[in-house]
């Protein structure tokens, strides 16, 4: 339809240096070597538009909000401009039958080639009746759309791992995309919401290298999820020095000390917040004084209190007192039995005579 991206950009008044600068930043965020920015810029400049279908399921639209309200609407927007977003309920002007038609047209025209983006978990309870679009359950829609997709990108913790809908007791029977789709490459971009640049980074990678980025064992791009928050945290030195904020308003908190004791889940959370930050690099949860909730990890909602340190018991001990009583009881019981046995042995004692020394 259109020519290479750089021309599109040029028509919009985006200079090559602007694009180079953007690619340098993107490469930095993807933990690619600083020199990769230029290669990326050149590849992307020449890339063509792939068709993308975005399906929202059991979700809160937070992920879409995160992407569309990202700090730099122009650049992220431009990346979206380089794709043909053929179906996105929240963003598309069409509604009802027209929208459904657009979806089916896109699926038919680009069969086997389109990228499928999913946000939200898929409820399986009540035959999927908890979430339906146009009278069809999410499960059916997903299966149909996934069948013709080149790859699936699960955006947000719900699509990636089931997220909050799946939290105990999971009333809707929510599952993740990877629970249902087994025969397509899936990229998980968890987070509640995910960082916008991760999304664009994955697209950029797809456009630059024609493939999906390298993934970890949970299907997440290693470049963004390879390190824990803790490892990249600027407060990490305080952890190593044993300097911890004990409450949210103590001297330690003011000094910017480590929030581990206040329940920060940074050590077990893989995400890029510590390096990419949020709101245009303004800040991120730990920098604003709150520990990491671990939102990009599976079942983070059920991982014990957000405000309890990782090394502290997740729940108050329930058995301790009872166990102590049982233990004492067992001890006393054995003790009584022992006394009886010893006293019996004493009572049965026959005074030894010389004859008793021989067999």
């Amino acid at each position: 339809m259109q020519g290479p991206l750089i021309d599109t950009l040029a028509r919009r008044g985006v200079t090559r240096r602007t694009f180079l600068k953007y690619c340098a930043t993107l490469a930095s965020m993807m933990a690619l070597p600083p020199t990769a920015g230029r290669a990326m810029a050149e590849a992307m400049a020449a890339a063509r538009r792939p068709s993308v279908i975005w399906l929202p399921f059991q979700e809160c639209t937070g992920c879409t909000e995160s992407i569309t309200r990202s700090h730099s609407p122009t650049i992220e927007g431009m990346i979206f401009d380089m794709i043909s977003l053929d179906y996105q309920e929240t963003l598309m002007a069409a509604a009802g039958h027209q929208a459904e038609e657009a979806l089916h047209t896109a699926m038919k025209d680009n069969a086997g080639k389109y990228l499928l983006i999913v946000d939200g978990s898929i409820p399986l309870g009540q035959d999927g009746a908890y979430s339906c679009i146009g009278g069809r359950s999410n499960v059916d829609i997903l299966k149909e759309a996934a069948a013709g997709a080149a790859a699936v990108i699960a955006v947000g913790s719900c699509a990636s791992f089931g997220g909050i809908p799946k939290a105990n007791p999971n009333p809707t029977g929510a599952v993740s995309v990877s629970d249902l789709v087994k025969d397509k490459p899936i990229v998980n971009i968890p987070g509640c919401p995910p960082i916008p640049v991760v999304m664009t980074g994955v697209l950029a990678h797809y456009l630059t290298f024609g493939s999906l980025p390298e993934l970890d064992d949970k299907g997440r791009p290693k470049s963004f999820y390879g390190d824990t928050i803790h490892d990249r945290c600027y407060r990490r030195p305080f952890y190593d020095q044993g300097k911890f904020a004990k409450t949210f308003d103590d001297e330690g908190a003011r000094q910017g000390w480590c929030l581990f004791e206040l329940g920060c889940k940074g050590p077990v959370t893989h995400n890029a917040c510590a390096t990419v930050k949020w709101n245009g690099g303004t800040s991120w949860p730990v920098e604003s004084g709150h520990g990491c909730l671990g939102c990009s990890e599976p079942d983070f909602w059920d991982g014990g209190s957000f405000y309890k340190a990782l090394s502290a018991p997740a729940d108050p001990l329930k058995f301790a007192a009872a166990a102590a009583v049982v233990g004492a009881g067992a001890g006393v019981a054995v003790s009584v039995a022992n006394r009886v046995k010893k006293n019996t042995a004493k009572a049965m004692h026959e005074t030894t005579t010389l004859a008793d020394l021989e067999k």
């Binding site: 990890e297 599976p298 309890k308 990782l310 502290a312 001890g331």
Partner: protein, 219 residues
């Protein structure tokens, strides 16, 4: 079960069960052992300076004259790994936090790098002790399954804790969960194995000191 669920289990129900069994076991065993009682010594006591149960409780922490030379590995290795374990368990920040959560007491921690170094030294000492157990005829002769087992049960928490912080082999979450689980196994095993010497050695030293102190011998 995924990593985080595993970790949450070890931090929740797992810890609950382990601490429960530990408390149950410790109380049961202590009562079982110490209510066996002993006869009063009717001989007129001889009083001598330094001869008492309490003296021996402390004195036995140092090698008697000549013994260090006879068995340097046992003493030096033993000191290093016992002190190392104590430093790691009682002066590592996350451990202090756990203790604070369980019993409400807290104190300053040592830097994590120092704890990491201590863990390496402790593990080295434990490996040397293991080699000594394999090499020395007396130790090998005395060793039963329990000796090898308790060595492993003590070693694994140190190893997993250290590997977790160094990001070796497994992702931190899994390693941390394994670390907590292995520490829980240690808690469960402790009251029912020779590891219980951590409790009974005070009683043993006291009895020894008292029985011999009655005769005026500081042992």
């Amino acid at each position: 079960m995924n990593d985080l669920q595993f970790l949450t289990w070890t931090r929740g129900p797992g810890l609950d069960i382990a601490v429960g069994i530990f408390l149950l076991g410790v109380l049961w065993r202590l009562i079982e052992i110490y209510t066996l009682g002993r006869k009063k010594d009717l001989a007129a006591p001889r009083h001598a300076a330094g001869a008492s149960g309490l003296h021996t409780v402390f004195r036995r922490s140092l090698p008697p004259p000549g013994m260090l030379k006879r068995s340097p590995v046992s003493y030096i290795g033993g000191y290093i790994f016992h002190i190392g374990l104590a430093i790691i368990v009682f002066l590592g920040a996350p451990h202090i936090l756990l203790i604070e959560n369980l019993v409400g007491l807290s104190w300053p921690a040592l830097p994590s790098q120092f704890i990491g170094l201590t863990a390496v030294v402790t593990m080295a000492a434990m490996v040397v002790m293991l080699a000594d157990r394999i090499n020395k005829p007396v130790k090998r002769f005395l060793s039963t399954f329990e000796d090898w087992f308790t060595w492993a049960v003590t070693f694994v928490p140190v190893l997993t804790g250290w590997m977790a912080t160094q990001h070796l082999l497994l992702p931190y979450t899994q390693m941390l969960a394994l670390h907590i689980l292995s520490a829980e196994v240690l808690l469960v095993v402790l009251p029912f194995s020779k590891l219980f010497h951590g409790f009974t050695l005070f009683g043993s030293r006291w009895y020894n000191g008292r029985v011999n102190g009655h005769k005026g011998v500081p042992v």
